[in-house]
Amino acid sequence: MERMPKWADVILTPLISLVLAFAISALVILAIGESPTEALKVMVEGALGSSYGWGFTLYYATNFIFTGLAVTVAYHAGLFNIGGEGQAAMGGLGVALVLLAVPWPHWALALPAAMVGAAVFGALWALIPAWLQAKRGSHIVITTIMFNFIAAALLNYVLVNLLRPVGSMDPASARFPEAAHLPKLTDMALAFGMQWGKNTPANVTFFVAVIACLLVWLLIWRSRLGYEIRAFGKSERGAVYAGISPVRITVIAMLISGALAGLMAINNVMGEAERLVLNAVEGAGFIGIAVALMGRNHPFGVLLAALLFGFLYQGGGELALWTSVPRELIVVIQALVILFTGALDNMVRMPLERIFMALRKGRA
């Protein structure tokens, strides 16, 4: 028998966790002598109060959708991929190489090619930890996090020594060709005669991310491979008994996961910066973990959680810009949200379950 109704599990629990996290954040803001209501107002207005704020919120959310999905797919196979940061960085390299190698005539051609580049580079970066896990038993948490550092060092080398244009002092690649620039959501809104989000980085990749959510859902719950992934994730021995190869599933799940993380580069490298810079990922790989945890490893949950974190990210930026709340405090708020929705999930869940059980008993 289910302990509590589905809506309570999926919506009520994260919501209460969120409220708790915000309540403690408010106390912290109060403690440093600022007004929590004022801070909340700045965050909400800065992130959601104008199409400009929305443009940034959606842009960040797009990043988090991809990295959140990456964590989700690996999670269903019982693998904890915390290498999204490195995989997304390598995805950026893939995008840059594809876009700089060919003089693309139109973005519609460049986009699929860049997606392939991003996915392949991200997937390959996840392949080695996957293989080490499957064949050698090296723990994937350790190897993926170490690969983040290797990716950062490799990008440093490539940008400083190989991709930096002659005469430039900045360790960044050349600009991508004009024709390969992705249409921004602003331009698309303008095509419908709407003034929306001028000068914001949100671009067509947002729709790609939403499609990716749908595809991941189909993969996990509507395909044979997804069934195998879930079976393996629930019980490795059971899966082996059913004839599922652990090596195959580990490698495939990690390849998909790495490819999804790599695809983030379409948004930040191709869509926003339009060239490859250092530290382009900016922690989105790690936020993806929180997004997946909060989204309960369901693509739709990931979509919602990514929007929430996009709001936190953009609102936090506005907070730092407009008030004297220090930037570090935004990190504290994000950390509290992660702590309550991820790590302390049971703290809210168990009392809730008890309440629902009691209610049910009362009715029966």
Binding site: M169, D170, A172, E272, L278, V281
Partner: protein
Amino acid sequence: MSLMKSLLAGASLSLLPLVAMADPALIFDLGGKFDKSFNEAAFNGAEKWKAETGGSYKELEMQSEAQREQALRRLAETGANPIVMTGFAFGEVLNQIAPDYPDTKFVIIDMVVEQPNVQSVVFTEEQGSYLAGVMAAKASKSGTVGFIGGMDIPLIHKFECGYAQGFKAANPEGKVIINYTGTTPAAWNDPVKGGELVKAQISQGADVIYAAAGGTGIGVLQAAADANILSIGVDSNQNHLHPGKILTSMVKGVDNSVYDAFKAGTEVQPGIKVMDLASGGVSVALDDNNKPLITEDMTAAVDAATKGITGGEIKVHDYMTDNTCPVQ
């Protein structure tokens, strides 16, 4: 501070925080606002303007390379005018953004961006460094001096080359040891590595070390003072950091550039502004902190070199014109 706070609070209270307010803005690049050097000089210039006029300004500190474009756009959207930014790394980004905000004036320090609404402030660091090199040659007992650069880029080679030229002019037989902290912007803020490089250079005989490395320089000056050798500061007057242990500082008038830009407000003149020795844009700092270290011989040599450079008899080669240095 309270004035600024209430202004900011007022701005955020209005329904749209994007309404125009013609406050100037200042963006600090990686390396940090309080690097006691390049960025801090810019901050001091802005503070000077604030103290004098009672105005307020907006400031942003970069945390990572990927934020530059967003930071610039955000400030431009809020109506800040003019927007001053420190560091060459903004060049590429500004070149893209400036045309989108034709009514906003931008000022970039240490880089040339050719746009109709951009003022580019560049300094003749090779001239100031030449003087520092002359002083190093006069102060060095071992005949070997050091140079520690931040990020390995042509701009810093310009300092290095001017320094080497000045040193060799005063001591043709001497030796300059050259090290760079790194190849990425992280090299501007790595005082620990700066200190290590000092130890390495001391073991090779250096007894005067010139740091052109932003926040990394703090570690260089500290390690040099600890080892009881002389060092040379950069960008800001750093003589006071270790009185009697810092020979001089090669001061760039970054503070004055920021001050001038803020004062001119929206009337900032676009174009390239060259700050050289003759106009006081670069200089070597002499104050009470380094007075005991300065000999008459040294003063005479510096004065002669200053006269030579401003008069045109001494041509200090600018590394960035051809990416080579005539002396090594």
